[in-house]
Amino acid sequence: MTLEPIFPKILSVRRIPGADPALLRAYGADPGRHTSLGLITVDQDDPTYVALDEATKHAEVDVVYARSFYAGSAHASGALSGEILGVIAAADPAEIDAGLDAIIRCLEHDACFYAANAAGTVTVFPHVIASLGRYLSAQAGIAPGSPMAYLVAPPMEATVGLDAALKAADVTAVKVFPPPTETNFAASWLSGSLPACEAAAMAFAAMVVEVAGAPRER
């Protein structure tokens, strides 16, 4: 069935209270401010970036590391690797707990990929964030609290879809990630009012479904 949600699988969650300073530095944390780390691996990278950002709204945590793995979760290095490792850092372990809770809540109940064709062989991530946290706002270079459309699809679908999204509403592309990314998808971040971001995201999703259904119709 088209546009069926594909729920992300949380593969591992660990907490390191009082992490070694060398480890903190290696993963981008500041031993002067951070003592503890929270780590998570998931089989979908983009919902996890959204969830990591969500954590910064619920707890005093900093997202110090978040990287997607090459070629995605279908080619993972191990059963727990998935597609992404996200690391949050905080001054105390209780903040890490609160942050991990927010990440898990977001992954289990909110952000997910959707099937763009009946077989589920094409997927789309047309996610709208109503209010950005400290992580993605810094990455996108827009103010925390602003809305943003986070759009991901495979290369062809994403490219045609981005054009449709930009033409559907008054939005600007703050960042475009043309293929190949680590996972060989393509992504874009659009900024505008919340209704504009929502309209753009749905136009993107509709176009991805259309391309997936009729790939050779010019």
Binding site: T2, L3, E4, C106, H109, D110, A111, P126, M202
Partner: protein, 309 residues
């Protein structure tokens, strides 16, 4: 609650799915677990009063027996505490004015400390004179005296500049009244207690007495302490000293303190010792409460903040 914690993306996709001709509705998202409420607050229902605690609290100006509201202090008390803490912080941060010693006719001395911050962090440097001060002390100070008083800033320059001259004057007169010769009046900047050993050794005093601002406590940024040592020499320890603290307007008055210090100094010269080996029993009549071992007389707290009612 659900609205609060999730984006609208899933609803939007459901609408798009209907528009694209999808028949079955999207499966409902798994429910968001309920967030537990914070634990109920439990207030004590009985008030506990202890006459023993009240009487004990009357003997000190410390924050004892001050009551509470629920699990916290009363607002009034918190304000007093903050005001008193601010007084203490201010006193620690204050520096002795550069020419204060000369203005008051005292021989200015300086320790090996180079800055106020270094003074706070390096007690060892505050215990020794710098070379220029050693030279000046050798050249200008009277030698071979009975008592060498040294005024110093210590941890509260506020106290030194406040009642310092008064205490020094009273102490000098009290010593002379007891037939003791007193050394050149001097003032040491950035000084710690043990500096009296080096100064006393250089001038060859029988007793060195350093009068300096004491470590500020709550509401006492202006307290002076006096430390006396017989046969001052570098290497003495605190076991060799006798001291008197809380010399300020609300504690021991400088005049009263000066007399007791002079009594101590004379006793040290008579017994040729000081510190733990000094026998205080013959001084009971003159020193009173300080050596009697009895509890202090009741004291009243001085309010620094008035709360309008």
């Amino acid at each position: 609650m659900n609205e609060l914690h999730t984006s609208r993306t899933r609803e939007l996709v459901a609408v798009l799915r209907r528009e694209l001709g999808g028949a079955a509705p999207l499966p409902p998202p798994p429910p968001v677990p309920e967030i537990p409420l914070p634990p109920a607050r439990i207030w004590p229902t009985e008030s506990h009063r202890s006459s023993y605690a009240e009487r004990t609290a009357g003997h000190t100006t410390a924050l004892l027996g001050v009551g509470h509201c629920g699990t916290r202090y009363h607002t009034d008390l918190v304000l007093q505490f903050q005001a008193e803490l601010a007084v203490a912080h201010g006193a620690v941060a204050t520096e002795l004015e550069a020419d204060w010693a000369e203005k008051n006719g005292l021989l200015p001395l300086h320790t090996r400390v180079s800055s106020h911050r270094e003074f706070l962090l390096r007690p060892d440097l505050g215990r020794r004179l710098n070379d220029a001060s050693v030279e000046r002390l050798r050249a200008e100070a009277r030698k071979g005296v009975d008592v060498q008083p040294i005024l110093a800033d210590g941890l509260s320059a506020v106290a030194c500049m406040g009642a310092g001259m008064e205490l020094l004057g009273h102490f000098t007169r009290a010593c002379e009244a007891r037939g003791l010769s007193v050394g050149t009046p001097m003032c040491a900047h950035h000084a710690r207690v043990w500096l009296e050993d080096e100064i006393g050794e250089i001038v060859g005093a029988k007793v060195a007495a350093i009068l300096l601002g004491e470590r500020p406590g709550l509401g006492t940024g202006d307290g002076l302490s006096a430390y006396l040592v017989y046969h001052p020499k570098v290497g003495n320890t605190d076991g060799n000293r006798n001291m008197m603290s809380n010399i300020h307007a609300r504690g021991i008055h400088p005049n009263e303190a000066a007399n007791k210090l002079a009594v101590l100094a004379r006793a040290m010269i008579q017994q040729q010792t000081s510190g733990v080996s000094l026998d205080l029993r013959p001084l009971l009549a003159e020193l009173g409460d300080a050596v009697s071992g009895k509890p202090q007389a009741p004291q009243a707290r001085v309010r620094l903040v008035e709360v309008p009612r």
